[in-house]
Point group: none
Chain length 414, copies 2
């Protein structure tokens, strides 16, 4: 089944509104075994008609969002009925519903609001409990041939309830009618390996099964998601094989967030972490506290940007700071151990590096970062890394590498 | 000039990645007086070729993002050269650059990485300082007729620097060649006012000039950008009028980043700030240290998530914590003043609030935040706010509000 999405609205093309509808619809469609074959955004206006015509020739299902409002530039329903050669008829139930909604908000019904009650002859109304723009479903006919067309409001809070409650059952019916089976989809999240390294090793592992399922790669902050889609049995055995190939790098089949996994692991063990940051400037604490529930496992972080702060707050020896510099093995080790002691946490993470664009030397170029993980009963781990990337990416890469090292220490791999 | 954007990548169509590139490109194009006429997303695969062919027939400029990676599903460069009937040639400078980047990250160059050094015959390489995928520019030719084609990497942090530094000048050349005038564009960044409030007050201010230039609004972290586009003289007088209408909220004509403005103001005055965060969990320090040069004005931050940390590290009275709770006027005031004293900075910012989704009470619902600004010679300011939004947006809104209050204190408005 070929599915296409058409989003209408000039605001999407000038950066005023980010199009989150494609992703929301795409996720829901996956669970039906369907993927979007093409997505198009068109500005408000008559250009919509061309795009609808082209799409009908290619697709079994078209989801059109936006342009169902009361104003002049809302033209989706007009363009669709124009293309299909059907009349627009005022639906009296809709007029009543729109009037009720507007009046219950303390406003008065205006003439332009009646526009939203116009329905292409033969279309089925999809009730909107969260706004005045109803959805519309146009069944396959002579003019659309095999294509099911759904017109849906643009705001995600109006769109998604209509989609889940009314469009999904309608699509399921269409699938049943054509006797199409629903495939399986497994996402596997890895950390600490690049996309290309993963891909070439996975190619070796599953070379005998190639072609019998779909494989996709997606870079996420802190890792890469490998996605297997196809026959449930093949996907289950292949994804298991891929997972087992990278035991140190496998994170989760559920999460696609390294900080969420770490917070979960700490909560499971009733343990806590504290953080001492220099070059990441609070980014690690920020990532951890993005996770709801993090207050159970994180009580304090120190952003010791200046040398004096490293000494006064974490107890780093001034001689070490002078002799080796702030970006060095002894200093980052002392930061982690000082942080562990002062916080009373079970683990401490410390980072110090050169985010750039200035501050690099020949021995320690921009991009250098030392990361330390301290905990009780095990010697402190210190690693040195180099990420020659723009300042913000550097902060993210150092943060995620540190969180992954923390994860390994927690589960006993480091 | 007809501009189209083609985004490739199955991850965009199944909701694994939200497409922010369209908006980013759309905003930048506006300042050249250009708008996107159509945007299409296609899955990885050979389908890209059809879309490129259709788009070439309609457009003067095509911006294609994604599919330039090293893996099998990255097919953009292959499909474009296939369509154009040009050969792919290995570029030795690119091979060297890719090898250096990979090896400096401690990994080994693999055969599949060489794919990223393949360049369609005659294409111009657009250097990527933030990743291994170079951009490519294909000039109009017999096969493309009037169309300029730009192939760009998918990750926004790689895409946008290439776009701003290399594609924009190239598009400007194309406009000049066709004797199309480049309009003037002024961006005015305001903070502390909503989009609709700004828009309705601006409407009153410039009602006599309406229609003689374009006005756009764009919500940014920490504020709203008002964009005036049109004839240089009109834009200059109108933007000046708009700026003067909101003296307390006007931030800058250059920056669209509140943290950058604050770091600049502090550097100008040779002053410094320290930060004590609870509910924002490091987000404020992270935003400040995103700015290059921030180490001159920021030496230390404390993420005191737990009550014990507020007491031990910042000296907040345990009686106050018990009596008023961590989210209260006396506690956030003590946090700011303790932070100012311990850090020796000229200003201290402190925040404490309820990020949610749990932890709210009837008196202090989820979304409540206290923000304090302390400095020498002036009494400490404490404000209470409520942002009933999702956890991550809450952290951002509280952070940006605090940074804006700091800005006002620095320049004497608070």
């Amino acid at each position: 089944m070929n599915v296409e999405v058409i989003n209408t609205g000039s605001e999407l093309l000038i950066g005023q509104v980010i199009n989150t509808n494609v992703g929301l619809l795409g996720q829901e469609l996956l669970s039906l075994g369907l993927t979007i074959h093409r997505q198009t955004t068109v500005p408000d206006g008559e250009g919509i008609k061309d795009v609808i015509g082209e799409s009908i020739r290619r697709s079994d299902i078209i989801l059109i969002t936006g342009g169902l409002g009361p104003t002049e530039d809302d033209l989706t329903r007009e363009m669709v009925s124009d293309y299909l050669g059907t009349k627009l008829i005022e639906d009296q139930d809709l007029v009543k519903g729109i009037r009720n909604r507007i009046e219950s908000n303390g406003a008065a019904m205006r003439d332009i609001n009646r526009k939203q009650a116009m329905v292409p002859d033969g279309a089925i109304v999809l009730k909107n409990d969260n706004g005045t723009a109803p959805g519309l479903y146009i069944k396959p006919s002579d003019k659309t041939e095999r294509t099911h067309i759904y017109l849906l409001p643009g705001p995600p809070r109006e769109l998604m309830p209509i989609f889940r409650e009314q469009v999904v059952p309608s699509i399921k019916n269409a699938l049943l009618e054509r006797e199409i089976e629903i495939p399986s989809c497994v996402n596997i999240f890895f950390s600490g390996l690049g996309e290309s390294e993963l891909a070439s090793r996975i190619d070796e592992v599953i070379f005998d099964k190639k072609g019998s399922f779909d494989l996709g790669y997606c870079i996420k902050p802190g890792g890469v998601v490998v996605r297997c889609i196809g026959d449930p049995e093949i996907v289950s055995s292949v994804s298991e094989k891929i997972r087992k190939e990278f035991p140190e790098n496998y994170i989760s089949n559920d999460h696609e967030s390294l900080p969420a996994v770490v917070v979960e692991e700490l909560m499971k063990r009733n343990e806590s972490v504290s953080i001492a940051e220099s070059c990441t400037g609070g980014a690690i604490a920020n990532l951890i506290t993005d996770i709801s529930g993090s207050s159970n496992v994180f009580s304090v972080g120190f952003v010791t940007y200046a040398n004096s702060a490293k000494n006064e707050i974490l107890g780093v020896d001034n001689n070490d700071l002078n002799e080796f510099g702030a970006v060095s093995e002894p200093v980052v080790r002392a930061m982690a151990e000082g942080c562990l002691e002062r916080s009373g946490a079970d683990y401490a993470v410390a980072v110090s590096g050169i985010a750039g664009p200035t501050g690099g030397t020949k021995e320690k170029p921009v991009g250098t970062a030392f990361i330390a993980i301290a905990s009780h009963r095990k010697p402190t781990f210190v690693g040195v890394y180099c990420f020659r990337v723009e300042r913000l990416i550097f902060k993210e890469k150092v943060s995620m590498t540190a969180i992954n090292l923390l994860r390994k220490r927690i589960i006993g791999l480091l």
